[in-house]
């Protein structure tokens, strides 16, 4: 196992105890490139696309996906970041997270928004993101891209672009970064 990238995974979540690495950095880069091609196939006009990464796990991937789109089409594809802390439905049950930066510089009305997150699990984060996006206008289409879909949905939400489908059990944990994807367990904080 690549030790420096493992450190990267632990940085994201210090309680994470990895068991094995499922995707390497190269695998992740390849998946992102394929997803970029899929986005281009699906959208009519890449100038209308705004890629929005969800804080904190989705932001690096969103930037990489937007870079990929720019590289393939030669058009500067816009991207931003969104923190959904204020829109969560579990605020009353979990300690309120400290919100990270939200940066969306464009009115999203009539745009094609591609939401990007690292791991799709219950779907509640995406539900919160859909809620939040309406404050920036009325997008023509909203799509969802995730690096890992681990199942266990609690809401009627499905991704449009998936890096890898990983069936998991509920007590497992997944960490996905540009450096790779790991499966393991969540240690006690």
């Amino acid at each position: 196992m690549d030790v420096s990238s493992l450190r990267d995974a632990r940085l994201r979540d210090p309680t994470f105890v990895p068991r094995s690495q499922l995707l390497s950095a190269d695998d992740v880069a390849r998946a992102l490139r394929r997803m970029a091609h899929e986005v281009i196939e699906h959208v009519r006009d890449v100038d209308q696309v705004v890629v929005v990464g969800l804080q904190t796990g989705g932001v690096d991937f969103a930037r990489r996906l937007a870079d990929g789109l720019t590289e393939i089409t030669g058009r500067a594809v816009r991207w931003g970041s969104l923190d959904v802390a204020f829109y969560r439905d579990d605020l009353a049950r979990n300690p309120a997270p400290i919100p990270a930066t939200t940066r969306i510089d464009h009115d999203l009305t009539n745009q094609t928004v591609v939401i990007v997150d690292d791991v799709l699990f219950t779907g509640r984060t995406v539900r919160a993101a859909l809620n939040a996006l309406t404050d920036w206008g009325r997008p023509r289409v909203v799509q969802l891209a995730v690096i890992v879909d681990r199942g266990h949905r609690e809401l009627p939400i499905r991704p449009d672009y998936v890096g890898k489908n990983l069936p998991t059990s509920l007590d497992e944990a997944i960490v996905a970064t540009l450096a790779g994807v790991w499966i393991g367990t969540k240690g006690r904080a």
Binding site: F86, A92, A96, A100
Partner: protein, 328 residues
Amino acid sequence: MITSIRGQNLLSLDELTRDAIVEVLDTAEAFVEVNRRTIKKVPALRGRVVASIFFEESTRTRLSFETAAKRLSADVLSLAVASSSMKKGESLRDTIGTVDALGIDAVVMRHRSSGAALQVSRYVPHVRVINGGDGLHQHPTQGLLDAFTIRQCLAERRGVVGTETGAELFAGLRVLIVGDIRHSRVARSDIAAYVALGAAVRVAAPATLLPEFVEQWPVEVVTDFDEAIEWADVVALLRLQRERGSGSFVPTLGEFTTTYGLSVGRARRLRPEAIIMHPGPMNRGVEIDSLVADSPAAVIGRQVENGVPVRMAVLYLSIAGADEERAS
């Protein structure tokens, strides 16, 4: 000491650690962004009820607290004390009991007596109490927004992101607080915040406007404003509180202005990058010259503007930030 105000009351900055203060400043940074949006509202406190009870007059604190609560989607119950049953002789305890019976999650209150907020927190232990100013004691959200404003100014100048600096920008920062220290709850909260964050604080005031036991405060006392003016990175003026009888603590207003007012002449002697602050409301021409108040070095408008995001952060952490034990 309180290490985080999540799920806690905010009664005094004296009891907050550096980490607790930095947490509020970092959270407020996210709300600055919310306040720049076209739709300045997030659903974080939807369905929660915040009561705002001001037993003492206020413009900016009350308006900014109520704006903050509304931008978090909380419902706001606003009690106008002048037209309430307090006038018929109802006690503080019974008034709070009545408001509590309506089902509230938090109460923001201001009162002329020091310790009133603490007292109310004992009457209604299940309600989060946010002190909006109690007598001569504390005005914690003012202290937090002043610290936030300083960090914001310094971070902008150095081209760094405030949330990544924690309390670093306060290390060794020289803050001079001038004027009516004795009657100022703002000064007490400001000093607590700045000292906790690592700044060096001096106070300058005529002996009559210094509080008793000031020698026990974590500050250096200077009696000559002119001596300290070139030392300061930040000069914070205070309002001469004539409604608390400050007028009789100085021989004449004119003399106070001559010796402790921030005149144009004194402002010229400030360090070129010095920041001038005033919590408002200002007595223009008394503690601060009108031209100085409107100069680029003065960040007084920014202090008011930052009141909303900082109070949003306080309400958000205090109400939505309950620990798991309380929530379950």
